[in-house]
Symmetry: C2
């Protein structure tokens, strides 16, 4: 079975860990391809940082800081201390020493001429995440957020997504989400092929706007998913009207979508989704989603453990089998 | 009093610390300008590393690892561990996490268009070394060492100085020392002016070939020192026929110079040196040096403490005053 999953950072990574547990292991010929969001990539200290790719890689490779969900386990912070002593920022972005090493290796390879997809493959040769991890694109796409700023000309200004998310904690309203460079970007090698050859396509409970939405904004990817023969099943990142994690409500509002499990399903659209899982707390939303032409089931969607995530993955695969007919 | 010192790494830095203690402090209008060797600079992991400049900066700024003489105090090694896990070398070069931060900041500034001299000034704004630290040149000069290699075409090959020194421990004979790029390099801004305006010019007991020799190889610097009105006084890095530290004998042999205090003085030449200090163990060499037209005194030259180094600096300044007449 060939499974393709589009994924952001923490939520996507935790779901994927469950998925790996849910499907038959090596030798059983289950192949998982993950198409990772790179819209929240950022250049810091002259280094290319890919937070979502790294969160997937570290989580599936056993190197993640479990408690915070991002960054490395057994991390040290000497480089960051020194940066502060040099007066070099930004202070608000947390990069530990071990994490720095990943970015140094990545930046060195990119400077040597390797595309991000080849670099990611090289990094994964160490981490052995058990999935094929592809960046959505080798081209630079950077999600910017338009926020109100009375002091700026026109009363608003654009900030990098990381600045909005990490520094501002999404406490300022987002007026628009702009994946800068997306229109000119091309899917990374293997992305379209993987989607076309998939038996199942999954949308983990990642952020529908700035994670999965950005992946779908790369020209060709949305179309490939829509046209794929495989059933497309998503999992709601919204439970009981609030994001499971992070501040998805803020970016949903920016694109005019209500923070409900049903609204997110309809935002993806029946042209894209064949099936949708909502949490049992949102069971009442099932008819509304099904009316929109999307098969819908209510199951527990809290990823409180690897086994809970695996159970979600099993439910998603079951729904995929069902809609495939 | 304006003092100019040409300097390499550990030996130069320790002498300079003594010099700072020997001269009147702030407000007394003693200005020390250090022209640092950059011939052993190396690009590692895509980062520009300047071992000699950093050793001077860390030593005078209070951040040096006292025991090893290079690198940072209270260092951690997470990045290096990760590099090993990624299979990215070279393993033989020791860069700690705090040290990495310096190279990341430097590389970022250089990528932004700043010359090395401006970057060094910016780094020193943190370290406050109490001297004006100038790289010998903003241009890339890299000391290479020609070594025997039976497997190489022609039976020899060139290696970067750091590979010769750190990886090979200078255990292979050096056939030639080549400061690649030196001929086309220009002195960094302020270097020639500082030499011209100096009241005293000092050559610390740094390596006469790969440290001070490289500084003098930048077109214009040797001539400026020779033509300077200030007396030029050097301190022997050779005591009793052996280098005080490091493997200077190997690189002296490559340029056809005996490993003796007198031979090094004559290698610099009476056109350059006005005075020369040898260790008391080499007192017998004094007449030979003086016969060559260089005033010579025998004083203790072991930098066993800051005070011992300060005493050496006082002796050098006294000899300078004497030859100035």
């Amino acid at each position: 079975m060939r499974i393709v999953a589009l994924a952001g950072g923490i939520g996507g990574a935790r779901f994927l860990r469950g998925l790996k547990q849910a499907v038959p292991g090596d030798g059983e010929q289950t192949e998982i391809t993950v198409i990772g969001n790179t819209g929240d990539d950022i250049h810091l200290y002259g280094l290319k940082v890919c937070p979502d790719l790294d969160t997937v890689m570290y989580t599936l490779g056993g190197g993640i800081n479990e408690e915070q969900g991002w960054g490395r386990a057994a991390e040290t912070w000497s480089v960051k201390e020194e940066m502060k002593a040099y007066g070099v920022g930004p202070e608000w972005f947390g990069l530990g020493d071990r994490d720095f090493a990943t970015h140094i290796v990545r930046t060195q390879m990119i400077a040597a001429g390797y595309p991000l997809s080849a670099v990611t493959e090289a990094l994964c040769a160490r981490w052995k995440p058990g999935v094929r991890l592809l960046p959505m694109s080798d081209d630079r796409v950077e999600t910017h957020v338009l926020i109100e700023d009375r002091d700026a000309p026109g009363g608003r200004r654009a900030v990098h997504f990381q600045e909005y998310w990490v520094r501002l904690h999404a406490e300022v309203d987002a007026q628009a989400i702009v994946p800068v460079g997306a229109e000119e970007s091309k899917p990374a090698p293997g992305v379209i092929e993987a989607i076309g050859e998939a038996d199942v396509i999954l949308l983990p409970p990642s952020n529908p706007v700035v994670s999965i939405g950005t992946v779908l904004a790369v020209p060709g990817i949305r179309q490939a998913v829509v046209e794929a023969e495989a059933p497309v099943v998503g999992l709601s990142p919204i439970i009981g009207g609030a994001p499971v994690r992070g501040m998805a409500d803020k970016v949903l509002a920016a694109v005019g979508v209500e923070t409900t499990a049903a609204a997110v399903a309809k935002h993806y659209g029946p042209g894209l989704l064949d099936g949708w899982l909502v949490d049992t707390a949102d069971a009442a939303a099932v008819p509304e989603v099904e009316e929109a032409g999307i098969a819908c089931r209510a199951v527990p969607l809290w990823m409180s453990s690897v086994e809970a995530s695996a159970e979600m993955a099993r439910a998603a695969l079951a729904l995929a089998a069902e809609v495939r007919g």
